[in-house]
Amino acid sequence: MSLSAESASLAGAEATAAPPGDGEPGPVKEFVGRSPGELAWARLRRDRTAMVSGATLLVFFAVALAAPLIEKLYGIGPYEQFQQKLDGFGNPLGYAGGISREHWFGLEPGLGRDLFIRLIYGLRTSLLIAFAAAIITSALGILLGILAGYLGGWVDAVIGWFTDFALALPFLIFALAVVPTMTLRFYGPRDAVPDSFKVTVIIAIFAAFGWTSTARLVRGQVVSLREREFVEAARASGARLGHIMFRQLLPNIWAPILVSFSLAVPSYVTGEAALSFLGVGITDPTPDFGVMIFDSIKYLQTDPAYLFFPGVAIFVVVFAFNLFGDSLRDALDPRSSR
């Protein structure tokens, strides 16, 4: 992770140029060159919060990736129903939503599906959407931000106006209206809509609205770098636009981009859950945090445990991401203190 090509090579040169000492006895003081990336990594390693939240995130990734394996070990699938373990009103028998040795987090009231395995698969859906959306919006934001910041003039004005426009559209209402319209455009009113399509639509909506913050951030950074000597040098030696944008400017602004990326992911986790909560994202048979919470509100009085597990799960995921993002910011930019 080299933050700045310039200073990294400078630091390297320093290390090799360290004089061996002209035959002088005694310990030779050696310069250890470290790139800003290495420095940031060292700071991150020392930060206990970062390590704990980072480890938590790794566990979540592993769990999400290994969901089918966990299903095999656990022995219960996300769509299996255990109606015989519900009482006459559809509420799970036993304590705290039917927690037992077979069902670690209890059962869903109504259909009697196992909550633990549904949460595991819900995590998978959530993280997939959040990461895809964060990557796409960051890429778009970087491209538009660098263009606006470096070229300035009318390009800047047009991109700036589009940013304002995207910010003025009420996101949730717009998403609410667009999703069914898009779905109807591709599928009939009675067709089964595959999950892959729903996921794609959600990601596309996040992409259409989410690039603005990254674009603003990148633009601001680029504007302050634009007049620096190394950019001028590149321009003077006849470098093309693409080279200046991606080889000269981009390596110098990775740090804020990385931070905004790590804070964007949890916001898409919650955004996706919110859309599903409102009924326009993922829909029922597919396991998802938002769908589960929405469903659980019906059973609030009789089975509060059903609300508890998905609610806490989404909180822990988002909390870990936020903590890690904060630590990353501290590590990459030592001047900013929380």
Binding site: L169, P170, L172, I173, L176, T181, I297, L300, I314, L323
Partner: protein, 328 residues
């Protein structure tokens, strides 16, 4: 100042026009037949035809759009089935609810206002207050508690907090009524009782950002020269912190507060859904579910209007609060 205002207003009008064109195309020009959605159950072909005629769906698209805009500014004649002449600002007629969209607005807007305004007051006071206190007491237990409070708030979900609050206060402790809306002028106590959970849920989550931001800003401002000068002049602490420092630290918070309030006024969709309150947001959700296009269109426009106005207000407030800011 005046020039700045005119420039911003023009940009705002441009943005709103673009929003209206995009949403118009999106909802009215897509191949999906809007009429079958607007027409209530058991519509026959004849009736569908009549509705199409009345809505002017046979006209070219740009004419339809111009008619819509004209309706907003000078009013227009809708067919007799849509309540005849529709005065400016005419936002159209909802077939689903059999009333004009403006009537729907006048019914649900007070609900959203009753949720957002008190909640915003709570979250600003709570957030900024906590942030300032923790900046002035940096490193103490209080500071650490405020920081973890804000991190927790920033990671929690409104639908989760809302459901937990309802569970505890309404169903378990039974000290609050089931959330609902009563007019403030009818019965202020009932009004507050039905909304207090929504206020606190919103305030808890929103204040988190302000706590973090005001803490960071205060810490930065406190190390500036003018604070040292003010202290050196012998001004009392309360005046230095409350006036000098807070004023300088407030600018970025004004931006976020303006945007938050602006977008919250456009419909606190999730709050309203969680607490079952019939405000702008929930109306929009239902309009989408029922395919009530005129209502959706109007909702998008009004929400965008709130955001655009909030943006302009923020810029003006900037100049008022921070003497270093020049408008131009």
């Amino acid at each position: 100042m005046v020039r700045f205002l005119i420039k911003r207003l023009l940009a705002g009008v441009l943005t709103l026009t673009a929003v209206s064109v995009v949403s118009f195309l999106m909802f009215f020009a897509l191949p999906r037949d809007p009429v079958s959605a607007m027409c209530p159950k058991n519509c026959n072909e004849e009736r569908l035809e009549r509705v199409r005629e009345e809505l002017g769906l046979r006209d070219p698209k740009h004419e339809q759009y111009l008619n819509y805009v004209k309706g907003i500014f000078v009013g227009r004649d809708l067919g007799s089935a849509q309540g005849g002449h529709c005065d400016a600002p005419c936002l159209g007629y909802s077939y689903v609810n059999s009333e004009s969209v403006l009537d729907i607005f006048s019914r649900v807007l007070p609900v959203t206002l009753s949720i957002v305004i008190p909640a915003a007051i709570i979250w600003l006071l709570l957030g900024v207050g906590l942030g300032m206190v923790s900046a002035l007491r940096k490193g103490t237990l209080l500071d650490r508690m405020a920081v973890s409070f804000s991190l927790t708030g920033a990671s929690l979900q409104l639908y989760f907090v809302g459901a937990v609050l309802q569970l505890v206060f309404v169903y378990q402790l039974k000290i609050l009524p089931v959330p609902g809306y009563t007019s403030l002028f009818e019965n202020p106590l009932k009004w507050a009782g039905g909304l207090v959970l929504a206020w606190w849920a919103l305030a808890f989550l929103f204040s988190a950002i302000y706590t973090r931001l005001s803490r960071a800003q205060m810490l930065e401002t406190l190390s500036e020269d003018f604070i040292r000068t003010a202290r050196a002049k012998g001004l009392p602490r309360s005046r230095v912190y409350g006036r000098h420092a807070l004023r300088a630290a407030a600018t970025p918070m004004v931006t976020i507060a303006g945007l938050d309030v602006g977008s919250a006024l456009g419909g606190t969709v999730i709050t309203e859904t969680t607490f079952g309150l019939q405000g702008l947001g929930r109306t929009a959700v239902e309009a989408v579910r029922l395919g009530d296009l005129s209502t959706i269109m109007a909702m998008v426009l009004v929400s965008a209007l709130f955001i655009v106005v909030a943006n302009i207000v923020v810029d003006l407030l900037y100049a008022l609060i921070d003497p270093r800011v020049k408008l131009g």
